[in-house]
């Protein structure tokens, strides 16, 4: 393992499997009467969130606390950032407080990479701009492996706003490392220009892709980023790229439906699909804590030397 977790592409197959196996063991712990381990006692984890987040921040906080680390939550609202403090000055402040790990979410792609050069502790990317969200990809891979028993050779279809999605990019990188075959389905306007260089295939018709998919992952339509009119109307998008019950019936019998949340019910996913037995959306949140515990343990639990 590297000292930081910034891109899912930095993980080797061994690293990724080590994280997933560790998370598997830690998941059993959630059933115990005492859901706490002494492993990171005396270590400090700072949650540095420049963007709004509910599940990721809570999930990281729960993970760090279950490992007995001290957690400092920092959100840009109501802090010196509102007064104009730069990322670097904030980093130096955290450094002075003795942070052993900084979990950062930032609207600018690459902010975690910059931060890693300024602090001595580990940096964990909790989402940077439209770039990456590696722990979410790990959670998704973990959920797929739990439901379907394997990742190697699994056919995963990712549908929707790939252009603005850090989850999609991290998933493509991680899943291809793990041996899954990824297909992206989106209107051409919502695919990045460089998608040809990604380790995945591209398809523009959801109905063609679904019958072959073991997993279909619906991405959120990021309406806050939609001012440039990437498709004619929400209704048209929903008709062509939304997952409703009729489309779900095209999936093979074992096929599962995933969504990284938060959902726009009725836009990319119909309510009846989101609440069906094939949906893993609630599981994904529960698995989030185990996977993030595994990441924090593997980054902070040892001496910090390279393995």
């Amino acid at each position: 393992m590297n000292r930081h977790l910034i891109s899912a592409g930095d993980l080797s197959l061994d690293d990724a499997l080590l994280i997933l196996d560790t998370a598997d063991e830690l998941a059993h712990m959630a059933e115990r009467p005492v859901k706490k381990l002494p492993t990171l006692r005396g270590r400090t984890v700072v949650n540095l969130f420049y963007e709004d987040s509910t599940r990721t921040r809570i999930s990281f906080e729960a993970a760090a606390k279950r490992l007995s680390a001290d957690v400092i939550n920092f959100s840009a609202k109501g802090s010196s950032v509102a007064k104009g403090e730069s990322l670097k000055d904030t980093a130096l402040t955290l450094e002075a407080m003795g942070a052993d790990a900084v979990v950062i979410r930032h609207s600018a792609s690459g902010a975690p990479r910059r931060l890693a050069g300024w602090v001595r502790g580990s940096v964990v990317n909790a989402g940077d701009g439209a770039h990456e969200h590696p722990t979410q990809a790990l959670v998704d891979a973990f959920t797929m492996r739990r439901r379907l028993g394997r990742l190697d050779g699994l056919r995963v279809t990712i549908v929707g706003d790939v252009l603005h999605s850090r989850v999609a990019r991290s998933n493509v990188l991680l899943l291809s490392t793990l041996g899954a075959e990824v297909t992206l389905v989106a209107p051409p306007t919502l695919l990045p220009v460089a998608v040809g260089g990604w380790p995945c295939s591209v398809c523009y018709d959801l109905d063609v892709a679904l019958p072959k998919a073991d997993v279909v992952m619906m991405l959120r339509v990021q309406q806050e980023r939609m001012n440039a009119a990437y498709f004619p109307s929400v209704r048209e998008y929903s008709r062509r790229y939304g997952l409703d019950a009729a489309r779900m019936a095209l999936l093979p019998d074992h096929g599962i439906v995933m969504h990284p949340g938060p959902m726009n019910r009725g836009v990319e996913i119909a309510a009846e699909v989101a609440d069906s037995g094939r949906s893993t959306i609630v599981e994904q949140v529960a698995n989030g804590v185990s996977v993030r515990m595994a990441v924090l343990y593997l980054l902070l639990g040892g001496s910090g030397a390279q393995q």
């Binding site: 061994d14 063991e25 005492v34 793990l178 001496s303």
Partner: protein, 221 residues
């Protein structure tokens, strides 16, 4: 290759059997091939038959001390304590004619030396379905040395439940305790110097049963 019974379960989802086997050996710091290391010729101090006899004797001692092994739960400490606990359970079952619960207890997250080495892979914890509350837990490990592993195991137990009593069974006690801990059941007391390495090999993990004693600069058990 090592047909590691306990690891095979964990790696069942890994990509390809060969890849997972290679990983297993790399990730587990205790899994080293003693024949490949530059140790002076290790001599076998316990042969398969002696290991068998020692385990049978321990099983009988457990039966005697716990008056028939009522309420006994055997918990092996990975890696090699787990097959030992299973073997002891089989022997108890042969005598008593009923199922004796056996499981495993990984202590990695409770170790006191985590910061001295890179983070290590976790072993598997499997507590029998009926739990350990009000039971007599017999911890099983291959080698008792500093006592730190057992200290960690006691902490781990406390987070799982509240046993009526905790006992300790080890195949080899090699001395050099650093904590006030002793074993209740010992397969063999083996006087060693701290420069020596004791290595227990078991058929389930290593393909054969034997206990080796050799010289080495670095010890850990």
């Amino acid at each position: 290759m090592m047909p590691a019974a306990d690891r095979a379960g964990r790696d069942q989802h890994a990509a390809g059997a060969a890849a997972s086997a290679a990983e297993g050996s790399r990730r587990d710091p205790t899994r080293r091939d003693p024949t490949r290391r530059g140790e002076s010729p290790a001599k076998a101090v316990l042969e398969p038959a002696e290991i068998n006899r020692a385990l049978t004797r321990i099983a009988h001692e457990i039966l005697e001390r716990t008056s028939g092994a009522d309420d006994v739960v055997l918990l092996g400490i990975p890696t090699r304590g787990v097959p030992l606990a299973r073997r002891l359970a089989e022997r108890l079952e042969q005598v008593e004619g009923r199922t004796i619960p056996a499981g495993s207890l990984d202590i990695t997250m409770y170790r006191d030396d985590l910061r001295m080495r890179p983070a290590r892979a976790l072993g598997h914890t499997e507590v029998p379905a009926d739990g350990i509350d009000d039971r007599i837990v017999v911890l099983v490990d291959d080698v008792l040395y500093s006592g730190r592993t057992v200290r960690a195991a006691l902490d781990a137990l406390g987070d799982i439940g509240r046993p009526r009593a905790v006992e300790l069974a080890v195949l080899v006690d090699r001395g050099h305790r650093e904590l006030p801990i002793r074993a209740d059941y010992v397969g063999k007391n083996l006087p060693t110097s701290q420069r020596e390495v004791v290595r227990v090999l078991l058929a389930e993990v290593d393909g054969r049963d034997t206990v080796l004693l050799g010289e080495a600069g670095r010890v850990n058990s």
